[in-house]
Amino acid sequence: MKAPARLQTALTEDLAGLWLLLTATVVLAFTANLLRDEPVSLTYQSKEQRLAGSVATLQEDLSLSVSQGSTPLPEALDLEAFRQFVQAGQGLILDARPAIFHQLGHVPGARSLPRDDFENAYRLLRANLDQNKSQPLVIYCSSASCEDSHLVADALRDLGFSNVTIFTGGWAAWTRAGLPEESDS
């Protein structure tokens, strides 16, 4: 049998095999999904929609607290301004990256408020957050190009926090500058 004929035979056989494999994978994939702690719904929601859903649930569940005045923060902090904010310790630093990255290393004193698990993480931080809705909050994520810090900042504003800003450089700028790190391990 010549090479083209061998190839044709193999392709015909494999195409038939592929359908079987695909069918088995569909059954397996959807069964595995049902066995997850939180099965993934078949309807897609964007990051923004998911975060808005979490904010709406939190707004429904949690009562509003009294605001107290404090110096308003600028719209965004550069590395030097953020470094001073960290040193002064007069507000909360929030890490919007996934929790695993926060555990591996974060800005000293930062608390984890990941965009991808906002609702649960917010409930854990409630005691620190809800006591004063105008306290300075600075959010950061992995780098200047990530959007999680912006999304989390918007979500916090929707929850009534009035003094929220972003450290634009994120974790990448902090570590590049050789500034101190903290980890949970």
Binding site: R6, A10, L22, L28, T43, D116, S145
Partner: protein, 149 residues
């Protein structure tokens, strides 16, 4: 060169490396299907209704085909499946790059969405295709003369 590439140890190494990478990549995405759906959305290729079904289906397919290639069970079918997957990835990455989209490859979980990262993913995909194409060729049914040997 051709002899070295045809050596059984080389073929085994190719199977283990490529199969292992697909099992690893599929595993990462299997653990975080919603993040994977976010990555697929950046390609702007599929309607929203298909994002979650595809994000749930692709990772197990990569894991199963990768495991089949490693174990040697129906290894030619596994290679064929992975070739098709790589072709799909290549088309998806290529169209995203050509349209200037900020795509997050999503190949090994959530990655950066720079143009450089997209080009690197395209290069990686072409390398996989070359390796898999070679394996598929070597797994073709033997010629009658060889089969009687």
């Amino acid at each position: 060169m051709k002899r070295a590439l045809s050596h059984p140890h080389m073929l085994l190494a190719l199977r283990l490396v490529i199969g292992g990478l697909f099992v690893y990549a599929g595993g990462l995405k299997f653990l975080h299907p919603v993040a994977f759906a976010d990555s697929i959305a950046t390609y702007q290729l599929l309607p929203e209704a298909l994002l979650h079904p595809v994000a749930l289906l692709l990772p197990p397919l990569e894991i199963i085909a990768g495991a089949m290639l490693i174990s040697g069970y129906r290894k030619r079918l596994a290679t064929f499946t992975l070739v098709l997957l790589c072709l799909v990835f290549l088309v998806a990455l290529g169209q995203g790059w050509a349209r200037g989209l900020e795509i997050d490859c999503g190949c090994f979980g959530s990655e950066s969405s720079s143009e450089q990262a997209a080009l690197w993913a395209i290069g990686r995909d072409i390398l996989f295709l070359l390796g898999l194409g070679w394996l598929y060729w070597k797994f073709l049914p033997p010629t009658p003369a060889a089969s009687h040997a």
